[in-house]
Symmetry: C2
Subunit: 177 residues, 2 copies
DNA sequence: ACCTGAACACCGTTCAAGT
DNA sequence: ACCTGAACACCGTTCAAGT
């Protein structure tokens, strides 16, 4: 993403400039700007998935709850570390173009969340409710927290910037068996 | 919002065209495009607040849980009914400009959520945890659901498009005293 | 196959000038 | 909380032409 007078721009012409090619060159690789952005978004989802898997690894033998917390923290860190990319991944600019690559990559993230919750249910740690609903709730909570924290829509909490732990705990209590 | 070749555009020039004035006229009312968008976003938050209050009215004597559900449904309906405006309200385009009117209007929405939960805690219906964290969780869940549903990031659920009730129930169970 | 420069139809923004 | 038209420096996209 590129710095503009006031804000972040993403222009094909600037991309070409940085690549040291003419402004028409990108059209040899992508049909249009939306296609380039979709590719970026798909990579974003894959990158996120990798981060979540990496966070899961040390918790391999931990409780489902510990795994859920580890994944939640990694998710929030991804959003904080890649704010422009994260916003792109959920922008209507992306989902209107409806690229298969984006749908696949985001489905994989959802599947990962479903997997953690399913194991938790099987282990008797989480309530045995339809797991897609549970996963939708967890993902929604994580996405909402990411956006609200970034947009400073939540009041600054006493300790620092940390209603997050309490927030995740709230939801997880709803999941507990 | 204005229809473009492929997607939704919002251009000052088109606004001026529709208003039947010259393309320079908007600059007599707003310093720049960001300021106009901030004003729209602030109105969006106020409109949302009104919808939530309206949904609350018939539940005046109901349980805190019934009030929370009514507000959640009204929130989701607002997002579904005003998708472009809703996206604008949470875009980084808006929160970088950091307008006081936006912060005030969005704080009012947060305060409304806090109020419902506070009463629920006082009535002994909701768990007595720090209410800001509880409110952040509920708002995050609602925002996340709105975005994920709209972007079709959640798998189509069996009954129709309805993990929502289950999802809200999940969180509310976490809130139950 | 890959790139280029010119060209077209747009933008946001500014500004001197008109009421 | 007047507006206008010309002008500037950008965009995304296309296209004939070059290697």
């Amino acid at each position: 993403m590129l710095r503009d007078g006031r804000g972040w721009q993403f222009t094909l012409r600037e991309v070409a400039r940085r690549a040291g090619v003419s402004h028409a060159a990108p059209y040899k690789h992508f049909p249009d700007k939306a296609a380039l952005l979709s590719e970026l978004a798909a990579r974003g989802y894959r990158h996120l998935q990798e981060d979540l898997i990496a966070a899961l690894a040390p918790e391999r033998r931990g409780s489902a709850r510990a795994r859920a917390i580890a994944v939640a923290k990694a998710y929030l860190d991804f959003g904080r570390g890649n704010p422009s990319l994260y916003e792109l991944m959920f922008s209507s600019e992306i989902d209107k173009s409806c690229e298969a690559s984006v749908r696949e990559a985001s489905s994989a993230v959802f599947a990962l969340i479903v997997d953690i919750l399913t194991r938790g249910q099987q282990a008797g740690e989480f309530k045995a409710v339809p797991v897609e609903g549970q996963a939708a709730a967890l993902w929604s909570l994580l996405h909402g927290l990411t956006v609200l924290e970034r947009g400073r829509r939540l009041p600054p909490s006493e300790g620092g910037l940390m209603p997050i732990d309490a927030t995740i705990a709230s939801l997880l209590q709803g999941l507990d068996a």
